[in-house]
Amino acid sequence: MKIFYTFLIIVLASGFLGGAEVSKITVDGSTTVGPIAKAFAEFYMKQHPGVNITVSESGSGNGAKSLINGSCQVATMSRIMKQNEYEAAVHSEVLPISHVVALDGIAMIVHPSNPVKALTMEQVKRIYTGKIKNWSQLGGPNVPIVIISRDTNSGTYETFETRVLKGEKIVKNCEYVGSNGAIRQRVQSTQAALGYVGIGFIDNTVKALPVNSVPPSPETVKNGSYPIARPLYMYTNDYPKMGSDLYLFVTLYLTRKGQAIIEETGFIPVTNY
């Protein structure tokens, strides 16, 4: 019993240690922008120890809802807000202001053992709508394709649906996972898998295929030749007050160090300073 009480007192005491009032910034939203948000948060907290920035990655849709709800101050999204989200925001007296923090492309990834060398947009669409079911129809071995997609509140999914699927429905036997990292994990451990992730999530355990003969890379995204490119956003409620912690955090992408962070995470800074 005594041990328990002393332990309890130690924990509670450690809760009281440390000094000044802490201001907080809550960030919620896309798993694509997640690594950037987490890196920014750590960088900022190191420079300003009195601020606690918490980052959640539950999907672009959830980020939007939290911002409108008032439960977060920065919503990271990998797509632009939809019309009904804007309407709901206005209804709740929230004015969403978007900041484009980085550029990204959606890369189609397969297992490195897959001999297929490239895909076209049309082929990707037909795979995901179920008209192409086997790798042999694409020049590979006779293995059924395991398609993996993002779950429904993902901005990456929405972009993919708009640009590639053009509104058609995904076939029923498609597996769904909850984040970019999860797609990459499934693809790198499943030889027959095909999935899509943001460029920052490509590493040497998966193979990113060129789409319409354009490989996904920072250059092709920036000059627009990669067909599935998109900006990454941070939304705030109204423009943040000049000089406040929120303002400094959200404009990190304009500083040289912020851009170095974006590059080091694997994404593309909007421009180079």
Binding site: I68, N69, T152, Y157, I170, K172, G178, R186, T190, A192
Partner: protein, 380 residues
């Protein structure tokens, strides 16, 4: 000298005060207890309140009859039949894994193992019950799924050997017993040997063929219904074992002693006397295990593949499925009532179905347990 002024008998006023305080206290305690009542009512009310609009908007038919689950499509479709099927399939798989194992283990614990071994096995069961579900999910995703994918065929064939060989041998011995009953005494031994040898060769041949077939199965995706069923079965085991063992123990020593006195073997006692007496308890154990499997979220979210489809054929455990709990967990962000659409309400509709299922299962298990108590209570 000071005398302590204390009356032995309380005055009327004092006793009235005491009774009043006792009443107030009782009322206060009742209020505090009623918080669980309030909580349950609130939960049902909130879930139902936000589920009803879905049924008003889309009616009852679509959710339960259609398999097209496209909540973010244009137009959105909310056919959850495949999801209900997915929950049912993994629950069925979990039952197939957990019930035989669980009941056999309960029998071992209550009748067969000596006291010291029992003291070792009980902590094992408690540890299995205490491991958090996210640890099970981590194991299913990180260790078990790649294992199934890379060595699935050989795993399946090893499992087939492990299960079929002992059972097959048992059946063969039983069959030879029965078949050679009517043969003369001096020829019986040789006859049995011959029959045994013949049947065993057939068994081994069959098993070899089965295992070569299983070895050649390539599991394309390790996150599927089989993965989840096995893990859910292991999670449901402790519940089944402890409740079943409790009810087997509750059958009592007199029943067992009476049966032994009449010359029955332990197995016969168990099968003909104890298990029928404890039958309702075992059924309650199975129901509780089922409830555990149905309500589990993290394991299915991480390792079931989340594909809203009815596998073809329906018993193909090697295909990914989607369950109710994973759908709710994956879409829970929609539960901010900002856009207030069918997508938000359908989550509550699914949660309502889950709630009603667990409510009914709970009532069933309680009723069954009470019946057993009454039955055994009369015998004591």
């Amino acid at each position: 000298m000071k005398k302590t002024e204390r009356n032995l008998i309380m005055s009327d006023a004092a006793s009235r005060l005491r009774r009043l305080t006792a009443l107030i206290l009782k009322g206060f305690l009742l209020l505090a207890t009623a918080i669980s009542l309030v909580a349950v009512l609130l939960i049902i009310a909130y879930i139902a309140r936000d589920a009803i609009p879905f049924f008003k908007l889309r009616g009852l038919g679509e959710l339960f009859k259609s398999t097209a689950w496209y909540p973010s499509g244009h137009p959105p479709e909310f056919g959850a039949l495949a999801i209900f099927f997915g929950t049912g399939l993994v629950t069925l798989g979990a039952i197939v894994v957990a019930v035989p194992l669980g009941i056999a283990a309960a029998i071992a614990l209550s009748d067969i193992l000596p006291y010291r071994l029992r003291q070792i096995v009980k902590p094992v069961i408690e540890i299995l019950a205490a491991i958090p579900s996210v640890a099970y999910g981590f194991f299913a995703l990180v260790i078990f799924a790649p294992l199934l994918q890379n060595r699935g065929g050989s795993l399946l064939s090893t499992a087939a050997w492990l299960i079929a060989l002992p059972l097959g041998l048992l059946i063969i011995f039983a069959v030879t017993e029965i078949a050679t009953r009517s043969i003369r005494e001096d020829m019986v031994k040789t006859a049995r040997l011959v029959l045994d040898a013949a049947l065993i060769t057939i068994l081994i041949r069959g098993l070899l063929a089965l295992s070569t077939m299983l070895n050649s199965i390539k599991i394309s995706s390790g996150t599927n219904a089989l993965n989840v069923s096995i893990i859910l079965g292991i999670m449901a085991l402790p519940t089944i074992v402890s409740v079943a063992e409790d009810s087997l123990q509750a059958a009592g020593r007199e029943l067992r002693e009476g049966s032994y006195a009449l010359g029955a073997t332990r197995a016969e006692t168990l099968f003909k006397v104890i298990i029928p007496a404890a039958g309702s308890g075992i059924i309650a154990a199975v129901i509780l295990g089922v409830m555990r499997a149905v309500g589990e979220t993290m394991v299915v979210w991480m390792a079931s593949g989340n594909a809203a489809q009815i596998p073809s054929p329906w018993f193909n455990f090697l295909s990914p499925v989607r369950t109710l709990t994973a759908t709710i967990a994956g879409d829970m962000g929609e539960a901010d009532q900002v856009t207030g659409s069918s997508r938000y309400h359908v989550l509550f509709a699914l949660a309502l179905c889950l709630l009603l299922t667990s409510f009914v299962a709970n009532l069933a298990s309680e009723w069954v347990l009470r019946r057993q108590q009454r039955k055994l209570g009369g015998l004591k």
